[in-house]
């Protein structure tokens, strides 16, 4: 269906690639403090950063997002609910027409909090879970974290909440549990959300052990195709589209174009998976605030320039995968205009092999507590929603009404 003859889905994609005057949504890590120490935590969370934005500063950010008409923020961390002003900020955002989705490991999601969430459509929650069994989950997220998450999910279900999410980072160890995750969600009236593991934060250290093996990527792709429309993906698997049929979603990296990250101390990065100086656009405590960073920073301007595709330009599948994920390339040491490390055509592996042993870029500040990570495997912090999430489900061929459920 078409409402205009001139505009097509591709035109809209081009508009997004050029960047919007304000993000559609953004990820906001409220704190680096976390009760867990997940081994693949994208923000290397653990200890609170003393420079964290205080309540007044956080409210000023919300005021600014309201002026920009940012529809919603994906709040994460760290564990955002450990901030004593967490609900105060959520209420403030909602009162200012900025919707809230937040990621949590469930530690503070008691019956009272669940009732609160159930009562409003402006607050959406996702519980992070990285195994459909305690064994698989706790190996990554820490002892007892499965039980905590399940209790939170049950609290939400009992409170009558609808549309809450179970958010899973797909790893080598849980990719065999996709049906079990789906059942876990279905049994509680929740929705399953699967996202891609990135070599970001502590994930840089555990990537080699956790990322999907080539055969597993195919299993995941087939499962996603079979369950199209039943599962959310944050549009994060567009690199798999080169297997054939494009997965639902916009299939576009939104970093610095339609989304970004605000970290706990006000640093603004291109995306939640890119906490590194290379992708730092500025700090919103500086004059001009968030708005000038979004509209004028050199970094974001460069991300909105036409991408050539580099080494991938000659690949027949570039149109599907768009070269994959910027953060995944960067933290594995690959050039940004080259293939994704998990390129389904194998070009990423070739490129990595050609690199040989190199010093990969290290993630930005490490907030890990000085305890050894349980070498069961990893533990993880709540995985923020978003990145490309706002656009998930958008079909570029639809003209007027393109749905993008979270």
């Amino acid at each position: 269906m078409s409402t205009t003859t001139a505009a097509t889905g591709r035109d809209l994609l081009a508009e997004f690639e050029r960047g919007l005057d304000a993000p559609i949504c953004l990820t906001w890590e409220l704190t680096y403090a976390c009760n867990l120490a997940c081994v693949h935590c994208l923000s290397s969370s653990g200890k609170r950063d003393p420079r964290e934005l205080d309540t007044a500063e956080a409210k000023a950010v919300i005021d600014e997002l309201e002026r920009l008409q940012v529809f919603y923020v994906n709040i994460g961390g760290g564990e955002p609910t450990v901030r004593s002003d967490f609900w105060e900020l959520v209420d403030y955002a909602v009162a200012h027409k900025v919707g809230v989705k937040f990621s949590t490991n469930g530690i503070r999601l008691d019956k009272t909090a669940a009732a609160r969430i159930a009562a409003t459509s402006y607050v959406d929650v996702q519980i992070s879970l990285d195994g459909a069994t305690a064994e698989v989950n706790d190996a990554v997220r820490g002892e007892g974290s499965f039980k905590t998450a399940l209790q939170a999910l049950d609290n939400l279900a009992e409170a009558g909440a609808t549309d809450f999410k179970i958010s899973v980072v797909v790893t080598r160890h849980n990719v065999t549990q996709l049906d079990a995750f789906k059942k876990l969600a279905d049994d509680r009236g929740a929705q399953l959300r699967l996202t891609r593991l990135r070599p970001s934060g502590r994930g840089a250290d555990t990537w080699d052990e956790l990322h999907l093996l080539p055969g597993q990527q195919r299993v995941l792709y087939d499962w996603l195709v079979d369950h199209s429309g039943e599962v959310l993906t944050g549009d994060s698997f567009f690199h798999l589209s080169a297997y054939g049929e494009a997965l639902p979603g916009l299939n576009l990296c939104g970093a610095g174009r339609v989304v970004c990250l605000i970290d706990p101390i006000g640093d603004v990065y291109a995306c939640p998976f890119a906490i590194h100086d290379e992708f730092l656009a500025g700090n919103l405590r500086e004059a001009g605030g968030f708005t000038s960073i979004w509209r004028e920073s050199a970094l974001f301007s460069s991300l909105r320039e036409p991408q050539t595709g580099g080494a991938c330009a000659s690949c027949n599948f570039y149109g599907s995968c768009r070269g994959g994920c910027m953060a995944a390339k960067f933290f594995t040491g690959l050039p940004l205009d080259g293939p994704d490390p998990e390129c389904v055509k194998g070009y990423g592996e070739e490129a990595l092999a050609a690199l040989g042993e190199i010093d990969r870029p290290r993630p930005g500040a490490d907030h890990s507590r000085s305890i050894p990570l349980m070498v069961l495997k990893p533990k993880n912090a709540p995985v923020p929603a978003c990145a490309e999430d706002p656009l998930a489900g958008f079909d570029p061929n639809e003209v007027v009404v393109a749905s993008s459920s979270r």
């Binding site: 409402t3 205009t4 008409q69 009404v401 749905s403 993008s404």
Partner: protein, 102 residues
């Protein structure tokens, strides 16, 4: 696109319509973005004229009147009404009592 029987029931072009209060609208150079906080759906209105039509609904006694107000050519009416139907089907547009201007 032909309107289905259901769609015709959903959307009457001769009655008054408003954008639902839970829908937030953001003007963009290509048209507008609509976000519905109830369904958490993002909708792309890829046409500045359609955006004007939506704006005009609140001061128009009917959807057809909104089209006239924005001076949409007659031959384009069906297209715009079908777009409004889509919005009504997802309850982003909501009926308003006849004659009441918000």
């Amino acid at each position: 696109m032909a309107l289905t029987a259901v769609a015709e029931e959903t959307f009457n072009a001769d009655s008054a319509w408003d954008l639902h209060e839970s829908v937030s609208v953001r003007p963009e150079r290509f048209g507008a973005l609509l976000y519905d906080f109830r369904t958490r759906r993002l909708t792309f209105v890829k046409d500045p004229v359609l955006q004007k039509v939506i704006d005009a609904l609140s001061t128009s006694a009917s959807a057809r009147e909104a089209l006239a107000l924005v001076k949409v050519p007659q031959e384009d009416h069906e297209r715009y009404l079908s777009a409004l139907t889509r919005l009504a089907e997802t309850s982003m547009l909501t009926p308003r009592s006849q004659g009441e201007i918000t």
